[in-house]
Symmetry: D2
Subunit: 441 residues, 4 copies
């Protein structure tokens, strides 16, 4: 183990050393330069000069401004497709004699040449990270362009291959983690902002806190995704107490519940290459090993689309809301609607019923839940366990969901089954409590 | 660095842990079982059950006898090709409107389904190594079968992607390397047999000896290829002194030459996915860093095809050998031809001239040198530097090359240029001394 | 190496695990409790229960208030001396027959019993650190008490043995160092305050910055001492530019000078057990290895006693200052004396001459330089190289030394010789420039 | 953890680097040279030159022949004692005013000067190991000399301080341990010889085998002591099956008993500085953590003094053996006494009774058990659990104990109590079965 450890460390060191390996012969400065080099790279056979070329192309690209980059991306999408003559010939050959070999030859002839280009770029020192960033650029434009979509398809195909699960490593992040990793945790936290190093320490050091991240051998010190965990005695119904300052930590040995209260992706350029489900499952396994007394693994999750959906329901004549409910919910339009505690309780009850309905009945065109967070966790095989009104009283919490948060339950023995129910039949798996809430009055 | 080191170690540990992760529900026992599971795996969406299935398929395959395995390989080659109906539809769509998107769709439709299967198998714990071994099985049969060749093409394509250079790690092997790695060095040494642990120690411990190997994160303790190096004062002209027992080692600081005297591939299942060139270049770089006084990097290499080729030349009426040379070489037919020292010297001179000719003029159908070792080193960008008659007086050395060995020179600044000369124009790059020897009399 | 690495890591882990190892049977709450346990520990033979007792004593001591702790320290100093009866007997035996054996027996009989007690306390998990902290408490009181001095002598004797040079490890501190170490660097920096994590990063991350610390196997994550280094093109004459924000770093390869601009001890409880000299020498060696182009290793050091000494000189009738110099220096009494640039230049020339005099002529009772920083560096074998007026224009710099700072030069081949000159003959080794300045006008 | 790991590794590397640090100015060649340097070292103040001197003394000593070494040892023992004049003055001062300070001054004056010398030698690179080897030399002569005994006392005192428990690290040895460590395990195995690397592997690789060793930061790759463990279903009654080749290993999870079947000290120069007890206890803790189903921790130990003692008993008129027992035991004088199985069984019963008696009644002058292995384990707090006749049928087993072996039981909760019973009252703690056997007939 030690031996393997040691040798693997060399991957990254070597990459860094190679960066200064050989001075660039020619610094490409324009999109046209870069594309010329790219064509050269595709035509060359030499391995060593190939690496140097790939490095020059990627560093040249990184120096371009937004316009220059877009020009490169467009040309990659349109000018590096399959060779039409070869492809036509391969089709003809296949049609003449449709053997497996002819199909394979056709497969190869139809491969866009940019795939080989991307493979060669990947071999540059730091190439993988550079390609992840290139895809980040691409994502900013891809929506508007069917052409760019082609490039994206190729990038996703290749990145998925290099970021396959076998290479991912889950690693605990704590207060003895190197500072250069920790600063990235601060930077990438997307759910509950980490204000400074002291705030970070509060999420890492107490014995009732954990944090885990995925890493990849070629991305060195760059976390791919991380999850923050709080250990508690019971399933939490509100976020405030969980992230508040001060208060004595729970002894880890007294914890029964692990709460995943924040999950953040770090590399936007890897969007759509999902690791989240795998990370949560591995963290559950690791926590169970370390703390066998843990019985329950849940999230405390936001409900981003709820307020917007509810507004529409309130205006609808044919919705499920009763008239007296609509009357009560009218109070939501005033900013201080929680000031009247008795009324707020009544409203919360309606919100709970509405949220249950939202999760089970509000669907996208593809018959999946409207709520994106729900899609993520249900897709992972989690179950919608509990609806918590009044759980997030921050301005943004009130705005996006009138304060409602929910718990998704990760029950390992059921995960696979839940996942298949969702994936195959679009079934929303919920607890009986949620089912009851969602039932017609 | 430390952090990365540590986290990467987890890859292998986790793999091992997962092996016992979940008991197989169903132990496949026949080729038919395994193929049925493979079809299920291809059709499933669930990620976790997918991993378990992949593991069961690979371990089931490993338990099969040779016949069973071949049956699986044949079916993979023939029954898991592209879906003909989909492919035909994609062709039609492309022909109707030959856009980039249509070409890409065609590319995907033409992909043999076994590629996706192999990708999924790779995700099993230990999956990569299992696939390398499956390819080893395949190589035993592939020559005889165009069908199996298709499967091999797919395996090579995917293995090349996972074993791309960015993941390879060069690591020094010495006497403080873990025993489980060292026993593999003993086992895999293919050029000059390592007899036992004492013999191994003689190649690792003295300060004028080095050994380096390539490793891959998913193959844990399995070296991919290794090279043994001797540090000397001058370019060696014979192998005997280099591997003899006893004798004081040269002080590393007095060395000027690094001799690569043995290069061994470890994973037959990775044949054709070449790392040798890269390893030698990295070792040269590392040695230069450690010992800046080293000026020369050469091999001391066998000439496996020489004796056979020379025998033919001796029988030829139209060859380049002069009649008096043929007369002298007649002595080679007696086993003790080196007994007469004066005559042996004369013979050695003829052998040198003949060998020079052999390297520069004897070609394969593809106009490449007949000698496989020459193809390897010239392909790496090395130069044929010197021909050493009487260099290997062992029985096998006399048999395969009448005792001739050669030095290939790795001159880093020239490697790329040499490589291109060879790759593009089939040029055999030699020293002027060899050129002179090869010139017509 | 890897193996050793790995095994050593276990020291600290094990220590931590043992902390929770066995619940204390009895929690000592008063000084009397603790002293009773200490007597028990001294009388016991059992090894395992000894460890538990030692732990209980040390944790009990840590829970005491200041008064309780002092009571324990006093009793250790007075009630745990040598056994008088045994000592008298040993003296008698020695006087009767003064053999080596009798002298050794006398040595043992005269050993204060607290030494054995301290040795046993040291074996508790975390015992070494606890004893370092106990000595910290002791140092607050020791000045006032000859008795406590005895305890201090014993502690110093034993701590010196456990912190002997062979166990110290120098380690580079950089931005990938674990956060729990880095926060201690922030906390312990004693010369130029580190304001926050960003300020810290500026001292660690740029390629012209280095930081090194000493660690000890039993003090885990606690640095003992650290030094901050700036790489520059020339010997710096002022601190401002060195620690200013912004500005492009010097390429490490262009550096010729390494400047030790801050040295901080971390463990007050180890005062008098000096590592500073050793650390600087090791850092010099390491920097030379990494950057062979470095030619000069200097400090940029404060002169803490200068202003006070100069004030006295200015008042003295018989001092070395000329009358016109005194007149000029009168300006120093106004806070804005540097406002008049022309005059400030003149004053700086006088300050330089006075400082040269201060270093060479102002002595303590023991004939050592009055300046404590000078004593440290001269004692290490450094040479006083250059006097820099106007080097530290901060409020504290102006106050303690009217802005003067100095460079001490660490010239490895001369260090030993300089050190002996200072240690044996109290010689202040200076450059010829400083000698000239110090000469009578 | 990672950080600490990494930094500690530097200890040994640095030591090695320093070895070549500065060329010796003067190579001492005779005992007289070395002693002259030793006196210089004692008188010097310079730290750096001190290290070089210490290194030269130790390497000079290592080059001496046996006679030269003995001359050095003798002079260290006699010529480096306390300074008589200073000691007499300290006695006088103490007698005039017997304060704590005076006693401490006396303690210091009575310290043999060789202690300071040894402390300084220890600071040389590799100094600790060199001193361990010097003591090894000393032990060969010390028995004959009261003078040398003084030197030994000082060495033991200082080595005990540097090898205190806080610095020891227990580490599992397995088949992935570096080869340079493993070859030492082969070399140092003292109980059941390890024949070659294959034999070693059989003791490390199967899942029912474990091996653990103690290491020390300054002794790098040198194990101090190691223990080999077999995991079994029941307490074993014979050594043969335990170390036999072949046979399927027990699944670790099915094991209930851990058998310590071989314990070997590696450094003869550390004789009398006992780590064995501590190692066994730590290994018990580690095994319990890893395999909670283990319930029993025993040795399978030789009984080296039994045959010799029994021979005397058989000749004694007044011993405890009955006449018919003596008659039976007469068969022991023939080499093939176990050939007659029925009689051998009868003899074994007598041997068991005799062995029980041997352990409980046969004592040294100091009223401790005659058997050295018993003294070791009882001193550790183990209990004599079971007597196994016919347990070791090897030639040496039959010779030293007529085939009898015993199990000592390590019952953690009782260890301390047992240890105290033995240490304070010389009580031999045995199981009731042994007690019954030992009872008079």
């Amino acid at each position: 183990m030690t031996f393997v450890t040691d040798l693997l460390a060399t991957v990254s060191r070597r990459s860094r050393e190679l960066i200064g390996w050989k001075p660039a012969e020619f610094e490409p400065r324009t999109a046209a330069d870069i594309l010329a080099l790219a064509r050269t790279l595709l035509s060359r056979r030499g391995e060593a000069s190939g690496t140097a070329l790939a490095r020059d192309i990627l560093s040249g690209y990184a120096r371009l401004d937004a316009e220059g980059r877009l020009a490169v991306l467009r040309e990659l999408a349109t000018g590096f497709g399959a060779d039409k003559a070869k492809l036509d010939a391969a089709i003809a050959a296949y049609q003449a004699d449709p053997t497996g070999a002819a199909a394979l030859a056709l497969h190869e002839a139809a491969e866009p040449r940019r795939q080989e280009l991307i493979r060669r770029l990947n071999l540059a020192p730091g190439g993988t990270l550079a390609l992840v960033r290139l895809r980040d650029d691409l994502l900013a434009h891809v929506g508007a362009s069917a052409e760019l979509q082609l490039l994206d398809t190729d990038l996703v195909h290749l990145l998925s291959s290099w970021f396959n699960r076998g290479f991912l490593v889950v690693k605990r992040i704590d207060w003895s983690t190197p500072a250069n990793i920790l600063e990235k945790i601060i930077r990438y936290e997307a759910v509950h902002e980490i204000r400074d190093w002291d705030d970070l320490r509060r999420r890492l050091e107490p014995e009732d806190r954990r944090c885990y991240a995925f890493f990849h051998p070629r991305l060195e010190d760059e976390p791919l995704i991380f999850v923050e965990v709080a250990l508690t005695a019971e399933i939490p119904a509100a976020i405030g107490p969980l992230i508040a300052e001060g208060g004595a930590p729970l002894a880890a040995d007294d914890a029964r519940v692990a709460v995943f209260y924040s999950i953040s992706n770090c590399q936007t350029g890897l969007a759509g290459i999902s690791f989240g489900s795998l990370l949560i499952k591995q963290v559950v396994e690791e926590l169970k090993r370390e703390l066998p007394k843990l019985t329950t693994f849940v999230t405390l999750s936001p409900v981003p689309g709820f307020a917007k959906w509810l507004a529409k329901e309130r205006r609808s004549e044919t919705g499920f809301l009763l008239d007296e409910e609509k009357d009560l919910l009218a109070a939501l339009d005033a900013p201080d609607w929680r000031a009247d505690g008795v009324r707020a309780q009544k409203i919360d009850r309606v919100l709970a019923r509405a949220a249950a309905r939202y999760f089970t009945a509000a669907k996208t065109g593809g018959n999946r839940p409207l709520d994106p967070v729900a899609r993520f966790h249900l897709g992972n095989g989690a179950r919608l366990e509990r609806i918590n009104p009044g759980a997030d009283l921050s301005a943004s919490g009130l705005k996006q969901s009138h304060g409602v948060m929910v718990n998704y339950l990760y029950d390992l023995p059921r995960i696979e089954e839940n996942h298949e129910a969702y994936a195959e039949r679009r079934e929303v798996v919920t607890s009986s409590a949620v089912k009851k809430l969602a039932a017609p009055v």
